[in-house]
């Protein structure tokens, strides 16, 4: 049975996230970052940053609220029991720092079938309070046995 690609192109409401220094600390510790810029405002400023920066992969924290409704959308129709996160790409722009407000929008970019698997590709675009793009993500979920 071919996958239903009718949700391709569907866009989801923006999600706003306020970046906080202690959340950055918690995330940085969980992934084992030891660079002082993630923990110490003085070290961050000495490195030319506005404030404590988020590690690049903190992108998943502020994007999740935009991606969730897209991936869970019944119109997209992902069978979660057979889904795996197949691939992920991020392209980073302006650094994200404590105090920033990040707005993320998500879109169902592509749905297709290949080798008996369904591929569901979502794109997220995150911008800061000044309208600068901070990250663009491509999230690929694969459903086996479609």
């Amino acid at each position: 049975m071919p996958v239903d690609a009718s949700a391709k192109g569907k866009q989801y409401p923006p999600f706003e996230y306020e970046v906080g220094r202690e959340k950055i600390r918690e995330y940085a510790q969980a992934v084992g970052e030891d660079n002082a810029v993630y923990f110490d405002r003085g070290a961050a400023k000495a490195a030319g940053l506005r404030d404590v920066p988020a590690p690049p992969m903190f992108a998943v924290v502020y994007s999740a609220g935009a991606l969730g409704p897209a991936i869970l959308d019944p119109e997209v129709g992902i069978d979660f029991a057979r889904m795996v996160h197949g691939g992920q790409e991020f392209v980073w722009g302006e650094p994200v720092c404590s105090g920033d407000t990040i707005t993320t929008v998500a879109e169902c970019k592509d749905i297709f079938e290949k080798d008996g698997k369904g591929f569901y590709v979502f794109e997220s675009v995150s911008t800061n309070q000044d309208g600068q793009e901070v990250v663009r993500g491509a999230w690929t979920n694969i459903v086996r046995g479609v």
Partner: protein, 128 residues
């Protein structure tokens, strides 16, 4: 960095409760990552690491190779393969495949017990 150079290897052994801390930090509380009983009931060998945690280790190894500044990592794409488990060492290795001025492209893999858990990872770095 020159074409053919290896980036410094990153070796990390996530402890038993790392998936719980990563769940809290990331907001991903899928029980396959934090509930051993649930995970084994759905046919997994145990509660498994978050794929995006493995990707964060790949990001760390690449940013470290460019001096550690978060602004040095411009792009990272990965494929998740297999599954990572807590309490086993993860080894991240990479090789520079292209350079252009202050930019470098690094092919990276993350392995655990000799099996790739992240493959075809490509990072674009910019020297600060």
């Amino acid at each position: 960095m020159d074409v053919g150079d290896s980036i410094p290897e990153l070796r990390v052994t996530p402890d038993r409760f790392l998936p719980h801390r990563y769940a809290g930090a990331s907001g991903d509380f899928n029980p396959i990552h934090i509930d051993r009983e649930f995970a084994t009931q759905v046919g997994l060998p145990g509660n498994i690491l978050h794929g995006l945690y493995g990707m964060a280790l790949v990001a760390r190894a690449n940013a470290a190779a460019a001096g550690g500044d978060p602004r040095s990592l411009k792009r990272l794409s990965v494929q998740f393969r297999g599954m990572g488990l807590p309490e086993q060492e993860i080894v991240v290795t990479g090789t520079v495949t292209a350079t252009d001025g202050d930019r470098a492209t690094v092919d990276t893999v993350a392995e655990q017990a000799g099996k790739q858990i992240i493959k075809n990872a490509v990072a674009e770095l910019r020297s600060p």
